[in-house]
Symmetry: C2
Subunit: 339 residues, 2 copies
């Protein structure tokens, strides 16, 4: 027992060997098996046991990981035709994704996307994977924000860039006609943007879609324990993820509500859809934010997918499960965006 | 690779020691820690490593486990005042729970509850725990069905009893004024009842609430692997749970859609709310049924709770998380029941 008389017995869980489940599509089975094979060979995913010790080491690592993300781009473009327009909006680099599936009836609406990567990875050309999928399935234009990141630009640079692009988009159309979405750090930044807009007294987006959002950079969530080693994409908070959290938060600290939105107040938020999977290391980060939003009286939906790891719906983009994820998000935007 | 060329590498997960999470209420922390302490002492939960080898051994085990469930009854009654009316409906033993909180404005509505316990346990006086909680929070009368169970009465006795009580209730009020709910096997039976009513061409309930439902008795769900040893209430499918599945299914087999509703067709189902937790051994049974229902075009909600084990919202009935579970269910019935 601790000082408060609380029983604090840890629960011992034996080592296990997880079969590839038969309860998902062949495409998702292949993704799960491939990641398991890479892990068994000592590779795959992020180099989690280690974290860079200097800005130069971070920069070298970032280049290496971003190259992996870039390798997906041709396959994505073949399956989801689109054009990319590189531009500056309010001084921020963005890539506007115009899908071949564009629906002219939705021309009054636009989506804003923030890429994932722990606020450190997937900048530049590597930033558009989820934006392409979101544009294709929603049949809307997506503005993908290449926000500034550490080591050069820790918090609040990313939030400042998000607000700057938001102001520009909201100057041209009703705020309610804009949907914001993102995965992982991009899901956290989606929530942080809305918190910041509340703080500034600005109008909020019409709806949010936050996928396996990084809402608690302290690492307190229970699924960091339960799904450690289970998640094929993001297998542990220890090591590099904790390093990215510290690098991003900087002097503000990881409990700042714009760094870890779970410590913010979601009252008055627009309708929000959450997506996660049963193997997701951030299952609890997602569930906790969903519950906090429901407790605050916000219209919210929670979508969980069988055996899916963190953000796997982006990487396994050929799976029917990925299509369900993005169709649910598209339908949610269709239902809640105005204009 | 297997014959189809599929990579089938299992994923190795190291042994771990799970801390009691700080991300849940003190009451739920106490529940989690207490179960961990019991497990560390070699007790607690079901005797999972072993399964009875004869009908007499089953009967002895059932008496032992039911006595544990009965021990909760006085504390539940003190916290959630109600009266119990024991009666026969269509030849089936039921206990009608009338809560002190009864709302006369909802007198035209009634809820039907099926207790959990793997279709084997928690019969008789031990069957009313969830019914009491449901009655209190919904402020409606709950008819708790003491359906027949193995070893004497395998499938389809439970489904037959459910249909018999349903017919009696639906003869006295519109079908849409009746809500059906249940947890674990009771959640599975809730879905099986609706499948059977479809088959019979009868009207369906106004809404369903299925908590951590046992939807796949084959044990295929991924969370049987991932949350094995993690769930404090129901820590493994192997051993007794698999034994209960075989004992219940009997000659029909575990893939019969009225035994394992995941193999049924949910098209045309009434609005359904699903409840589970991130440590739930049946997280995947729940998520898969929710996804199948969404794919069939049914109005459905999924509620997941941080660090909660299988059906823990019944046992940790003093926790705020348990109140949220039953308030969400009550609100769902308020929204969707007619009359």
């Amino acid at each position: 027992m601790d000082d408060a008389g609380q029983i604090q017995t840890p629960r011992a869980v034996a080592a296990k060997s997880l079969r590839t489940p038969t309860t998902v599509s062949p495409q998702l089975q292949r993704s799960i098996s491939t990641m398991a094979a890479q892990a068994a060979a000592g590779g795959g995913g992020l180099p989690l046991g280690w974290r860079p010790g200097s800005a130069d080491e971070w920069t070298a690592l970032i280049a290496q990981v971003d190259a992996q993300a870039l390798a997906l781009v041709p396959a994505l473009a073949a399956m989801f035709p689109h054009r990319v327009e590189l531009m500056q909006v309010a001084g921020v680099t963005v890539r506007q994704i115009v899908p071949a599936s564009l629906d002219p009836a939705k021309a009054g609406r636009v989506l804003l996307n923030f890429h994932g990567g722990g606020y450190v990875l997937n900048g530049g050309e590597a930033s558009t994977g989820e934006a392409v999928l979101g544009a294709h399935y929603s049949r809307m234009t997506v503005v993908s924000v290449d926000y500034r990141m550490p080591p050069e630009h820790p918090f609040p640079a990313a939030v400042d860039d998000a607000v700057a692009v938001w102001r520009a988009l909201a100057a041209e159309r009703p705020a309610g006609a804009i949907g914001v979405f993102g995965t992982s750090a991009g899901g956290g930044l989606t929530l942080a943007l809305a918190l910041k807009l509340k703080e500034l007294g600005l109008e909020l987006p019409g709806a949010l879609a936050t996928g396996t959002p990084w809402t608690d950079l302290t690492g307190a969530s229970d699924s960091y324990q339960v799904n450690a080693g289970v998640d094929g994409v993001f297998s542990s908070f220890d090591g590099m993820a904790g390093g990215m959290a510290a690098l991003y938060a900087g002097d503000a600290g990881v409990t700042h509500p714009l760094v870890s939105p779970i410590y913010g107040d979601f009252a008055g938020f627009p309708p929000t859809i959450f997506t996660t999977g049963t193997r997701d290391l951030l299952l609890s980060d997602t569930v906790r934010a969903y519950r906090a939003m429901r407790a605050a009286g916000v219209t919210a939906r929670l979508e969980v997918h069988e055996a899916m790891s963190h953000a796997e719906y982006i990487y396994a983009f050929d799976s029917p499960e990925s299509a369900v994820v993005f169709r649910d998000i598209a339908a949610f935007f269709d239902e809640h965006l105005k204009g």
